[in-house]
């Protein structure tokens, strides 16, 4: 677990935000290339209970018109969360990860990820909002192949619960 990075704040300053709003618009990445493998897809499918053969058998996937086994619809979180995590754990942002819950998530797929894809992820901090004692951080992560093909955009809202 990352240690809390909450910077000391002036308790008298009414405008003090839990998160550093200077981070809106900041871009993190692209990170290290991630190679999508048959084994990882099968492991993920098994863990979530996705039973499709298209996630397990390259022959079945090819018969359905895919180049190789395809990832379940939410698999991209494996790649996007690592990338968004770099943004979220930036010490200057001031997020207390121990108080974080997931608020919203979306994926927009240009095509399914498949075994053999080598992708990189780039995360942009889209917005930071305060709602009462809650802080909301919206990140958008673009997942693209190393050849430059856009595959998926994963958008995530995480909520830091106030103490």
């Amino acid at each position: 677990m990352p240690e809390p990075h909450r910077a000391p704040r002036d308790p008298l300053s009414a405008s003090a935000l839990a998160l550093n709003s200077d981070y809106v618009g900041r871009v993190f990445g692209p990170g290290m290339p991630y190679e999508v493998s048959r084994v990882k897809i099968a492991e993920f499918a098994e863990a979530v209970g996705e039973g499709s053969e298209l996630c397990r058998s390259a022959d079945a996937a090819r018969a359905a018109g895919y180049p190789d086994v395809i990832a379940p619809p939410t698999f991209a979180i494996v790649v996007s969360m690592a990338s968004a995590g770099v943004a979220q754990s930036d010490p200057g942002l001031g997020l207390d990860y121990s108080m974080v819950v997931h608020g919203e998530q979306s994926f927009s797929h240009a095509r399914p990820l498949h075994a053999g894809d080598v992708v990189v992820a780039t995360t942009t901090i889209e917005s930071i909002k305060e709602l009462g004692t809650l802080s909301m951080l919206v990140t958008s992560t673009s997942i693209d192949t190393v050849e430059g093909e856009h595959v998926c955009t994963a958008k995530s809202t995480i909520v830091e619960r106030g103490k």
Binding site: E43, F44, G49, S52, A64, Y66, P72, V101, S106, P112
Partner: protein, 148 residues
């Protein structure tokens, strides 16, 4: 069983299915996803940060809703876009016996769906509801699915 675009009408309902979330499922999801936040596996930690106990990953619940759509479409690759709001936590009781327990126990997540719009080009918008313990745990849940 594959649904065809021409056979689908706006207002069609997709019969509800129930999925389980047990502690073992969360541990497997931790490993598969790389999300080892202790609120998903350590009761003491979860309670210490004000939660009722260990809760399911929101992404585990979202993945169950994805399974629901993908099995309806007959192809996990048919899900073009998918978005959810996590509207309530899913507490997962520690009520199954090691090593794997049975299929009993844990939390139950019930998912149902309605075809909301035919978008052309084989694409349909499906709105989903996921409930656990009588509460809606996913809201604003829409999948766009490409059908043959």
């Amino acid at each position: 069983m594959t649904v065809k675009y021409d056979d689908v009408s706006v207002g069609d309902t997709i019969p509800a299915r129930t999925y389980s979330a047990r502690r073992i499922d969360l541990v497997k999801y931790c490993g598969a996803s790389g999300d080892f936040n202790p609120i998903h596996w350590n009761e003491r930690f979860a309670v210490s940060v004000g939660l009722p106990g260990v809760i399911a990953h929101g992404m585990y619940t979202m993945a169950q809703a994805a399974n629901f759509v993908s099995s309806w479409a007959g192809d996990p690759g048919a899900v073009v876009s998918f978005g959810v709001r996590f509207s309530a936590m899913v507490p997962v009781p520690d009520d199954t016996d090691p090593p794997l327990g049975g299929l009993e126990g844990g939390a139950q997540i019930e998912v149902s769906g309605t075809v909301k719009e035919k978008l052309g080009d084989g694409k349909v918008a499906v709105d989903l509801v996921a409930k656990s313990g009588g509460e809606k745990v996913l809201t604003r849940t829409r999948a766009v699915v490409r059908l043959p």
